[in-house]
C-alpha cells in the first residue's frame, strides 16, 4: 500500500499537533498521580469545562488570551475545591478508591455541563485565522499555534518545577510525602496546589482544542481514555515520559488514519498500551526498575 509522501508529512504534522495537546492534558494527570496516587477520572471533564469557559469568555470579550487565562484560573479553582471536598478525605485510601470518587465527579460534572450548556456541540471560530499552503492543502495556522502554545505551557511548567521553591516542594513531596512534610513543606497545600495546576492545564488544553473539534459535554471522555494510555505508556508519574508517549501515540494514530477511519485509529493506541503493559508495565520511557 503505497502512501504518497505528502500525505505522510501532513499526518506527521497533524500527529504532532494533537500530540502536543495530549501531552498538555497528560502532564496534569501524571503530575497528580505521581504526587498523590490519585487517578483522576474527572480530568477530561475539567478539560471540557475549561473549553466551555473559553467559549463563553471568547463570546463575551472576543479575546483569546483572556479566554485561556480565565479558563485556567476558574478551572484551577474548581480543581482545588474538588480536591479539598472529595479527595483529601481519601488521600490514604489508595488509588482505587480515588478512581471511584473521581469517576463520580466526572459523572456529576458532565451532567452539569449537559444541563447548563445542552448536548449540542458548539462550533468555535479559530481565534487566529489564516492558512498556509501545505502541498495541496490549506493548512490552518491555528493548528501550528496550538502546538506551539501547548509546548510553551509545558515548557513554562517544567521551568516552574525545575527552579522555583514550589517546584522543589512539589518534587520533594512526590518523592517522599511524609519526609517532605517533616521537613516543613506544607504538604496539604502543595497537594491542593498541584491539583489546581493540573486542572488548569486540562482547562488550557480544552480552550486550545475547542476550535478544532467543537465543544460538547462528552468531549472529555475521548481525552481521558487517551490520556490514561499516555500516562501508563509514558510511565505513571513521569512528566517527560508522558510527553514522549503523547507524541508517539498521536503520531501512530495519525498514520493509522491513512488507512482506517479516525474512530478505528484509536485501536492503535489501545494496542500500544497493551503491548507496553505486557512487556514493560512501568512505562516505555522510564528506566526499568531493578
Amino acid at each position: 500500500m503505497g502512501v504518497p509522501l505528502d500525505q505522510l508529512l501532513i499526518q506527521t504534522i497533524n500527529g504532532i499537533v494533537t500530540g502536543m495537546i495530549l501531552a498538555l492534558v497528560s502532564s496534569g494527570l501524571t503530575l497528580i498521580f505521581g504526587i498523590m496516587d490519585v487517578v483522576n477520572f474527572a480530568h477530561g471533564e475539567l478539560l471540557m469545562l475549561g473549553a466551555y469557559v473559553g467559549v463563553l469568555t471568547l463570546a463575551a470579550t472576543g479575546n483569546f488570551w483572556l479566554a485561556l487565562l480565565s479558563a485556567g484560573l476558574l478551572i484551577g479553582l474548581l480543581g482545588a475545591a474538588i480536591y479539598l471536598v472529595t479527595l483529601r478525605p481519601l488521600i490514604d485510601r489508595g488509588p482505587l478508591t480515588t478512581i471511584l470518587a473521581t469517576f463520580g465527579i466526572s459523572l456529576v460534572l458532565q451532567n452539569v455541563a449537559l444541563w447548563q450548556f445542552g448536548p449540542v456541540s458548539r462550533k468555535v471560530a479559530e481565534p487566529i485565522g489564516g492558512h498556509f499552503t501545505l502541498f495541496y492543502l490549506d493548512y490552518p495556522w491555528y493548528r501550528i499555534v496550538v502546538a506551539l502554545l501547548s509546548a510553551a505551557i509545558i515548557g513554562g511548567f517544567w521551568l516552574f518545577l525545575k527552579f522555583g521553591t514550589w517546584g522543589i516542594w512539589i518534587r520533594a513531596t512526590t518523592q517522599d510525602r511524609v519526609m517532605a512534610q517533616a521537613m516543613g513543606i506544607p504538604v496539604p497545600w502543595v497537594l491542593t496546589g498541584v491539583f489546581a495546576i493540573g486542572s488548569a492545564m486540562a482547562a488550557a488544553s480544552g480552550v486550545l482544542f475547542g476550535p478544532l473539534s467543537g465543544v460538547d459535554p462528552t468531549m472529555g471522555l475521548g481525552w481521558i481514555l487517551r490520556a490514561f494510555i499516555v500516562v501508563v505508556v509514558g510511565g505513571m508519574g513521569s512528566l517527560g515520559g508522558s510527553i514522549a508517549a503523547a507524541i508517539l501515540v498521536s503520531l501512530l494514530e495519525a498514520y493509522a488514519s491513512l488507512w482506517v477511519s479516525p474512530s478505528q485509529a484509536i485501536i492503535v493506541s489501545f494496542v500500544v498500551l497493551i503491548v507496553t503493559l505486557l512487556f514493560r508495565p512501568t512505562g516505555l520511557f522510564v528506566a526499568a526498575p531493578k
Binding site: V39, T86, G104, I105, V108, N111, I267, L273
Partner: protein
C-alpha cells in the same frame, strides 16, 4: 450455632424469592419491568463482585462481557431459525467467555490501577469494533430481534410473556447467586480472598496466583455475559451503548454503594441506584446523574463498606 445461621439464611432467601415470584402478579407492567431489570443489573454487579470484593481486582471492563452476551444472544436469535432460547444463552455465554479469556490473559498480569485501566481499555476496544463494524453489528443502531419461546422439545413450549420472562430471569439470577455463593465459600473462593488480602503471601504458600486470577476473571465474565443475555431477552435488542465503559462504571458503582465482597450488596446497590435514578429522573428528567453522582461520592467517602456494611454496623450498635 452454624446450623441456626443456615436456617436464617435459607428462610430469608425463600422469603425474598417468594416475594419476587409474586411481584409480577401484583405490580403494574412498568414496575414489573423495573424489578426484572434490577435483577439483571444485580447479576452483572454480583459477577463483578467476584473480582472487586473477593479477589481485590477492580474491573472497569464488565461492559465488554455484558455487551458480548447481548450480541451473542442477538447472533443466535437472528441467524438460527426457529429462534431458540437455549442457543441464545449458549451463544451469549460463549461470546462472553471468549472475550473474558482474552481480557483475563492480558490483564491478570497487572495489579491495582493497571488492572482497572487495562480492563477499561479492553472494553473500549470491543466498543470501537462493535460500533464501527456496521455490516455485522448494525453499528450505532444495534440489532433488534424477537423473543424466542421458552421451550424444551417434547416437554413444554411457552410463549415468553413478560411475566414468564420475569420468572425465568429470577430463576437464573437466584441460581447464579447460589452458585456464586457456593464458589466463594469453596476452597477456590478462599484462595481468591487470600490473594485479595496478600498476594505475595498467597504465591509464597505455593498457589499459582495468576491461574486463579484468570479463572476468577473468566468466571466473572461468564456471569456478566449471562446478565447480558437476559438483558437482550428483556429488551429485544443489542446496542453498542451497553459495551461502552460507562456501563462498567455503573457496575462498579452498584458494588460500592451496596458493599463489596457480599454478593447480596451489589444487588442492593443496583436496586438503590436504579430506584434513586427513577425517583430523581421524575423531577430532574435527564439530569438525575448530578445528585446521583453526588450520593455516590458521599458513599465512597463516608461509607467504605457500602450500604450493607453500614446497616450491619448500625444494627450491631
Amino acid at each position: 450455632m452454624r446450623r441456626g445461621h443456615g436456617t436464617v439464611f435459607w428462610t430469608g432467601f425463600a422469603v425474598i424469592v417468594a416475594l419476587l415470584i409474586a411481584a409480577p402478579l401484583v405490580l403494574t407492567e412498568f414496575w414489573r419491568r423495573f424489578v426484572t431489570e434490577i435483577l439483571i443489573w444485580g447479576l452483572l454487579a454480583m459477577s463483578s463482585d467476584i473480582l472487586i470484593g473477593y479477589t481485590g481486582m477492580v474491573s472497569f471492563g464488565h461492559s465488554a462481557f455484558f455487551g458480548l452476551g447481548m450480541y451473542g444472544a442477538a447472533a443466535a436469535l437472528l441467524t438460527i431459525d426457529p429462534p431458540n432460547l437455549w442457543l441464545a444463552l449458549f451463544y451469549g455465554l460463549v461470546a462472553a467467555a471468549a472475550v473474558a479469556a482474552c481480557v483475563a490473559y492480558f490483564s491478570t498480569r497487572l495489579r491495582d490501577i493497571y488492572f482497572a485501566i487495562t480492563t477499561l481499555i479492553f472494553s473500549q476496544i470491543f466498543y470501537v469494533i462493535i460500533f464501527t463494524w456496521t455490516a455485522v453489528t448494525g453499528g450505532e443502531n444495534g440489532l433488534a430481534f424477537e423473543r424466542p419461546p421458552l421451550a424444551i422439545p417434547g416437554l413444554f413450549d411457552f410463549v415468553l410473556t413478560p411475566t414468564r420472562l420475569h420468572w425465568f430471569v429470577l430463576a437464573v439470577v437466584a441460581g447464579s447467586y447460589l452458585i456464586l455463593r457456593r464458589i466463594t465459600q469453596s476452597p477456590f473462593g478462599m484462595v481468591l480472598q487470600s490473594i485479595r488480602e496478600n498476594e505475595a503471601r498467597t504465591r509464597a504458600i505455593g498457589y499459582a496466583v495468576e491461574r486463579y486470577k484468570i479463572v476468577a476473571v473468566m468466571l466473572s465474565g461468564l456471569f456478566a455475559g449471562l446478565a447480558g443475555v437476559l438483558y437482550a431477552l428483556q429488551n429485544q435488542f443489542a446496542a453498542p451503548d451497553f459495551v461502552f465503559f460507562l456501563v462498567s462504571g455503573e457496575t462498579v458503582i452498584y458494588n460500592v454503594i451496596g458493599g463489596i465482597g457480599t454478593l447480596v450488596g451489589p444487588i442492593v446497590g443496583a436496586a438503590f441506584f436504579l430506584l434513586l435514578r427513577e425517583g430523581l429522573s421524575r423531577f430532574l428528567t435527564q439530569y438525575y446523574l448530578i445528585p446521583l453522582g453526588a450520593v455516590f461520592i458521599a458513599i465512597v467517602i463516608l461509607m467504605p463498606q457500602g450500604l450493607l456494611g453500614f446497616m450491619r454496623r448500625w444494627l450491631n450498635e
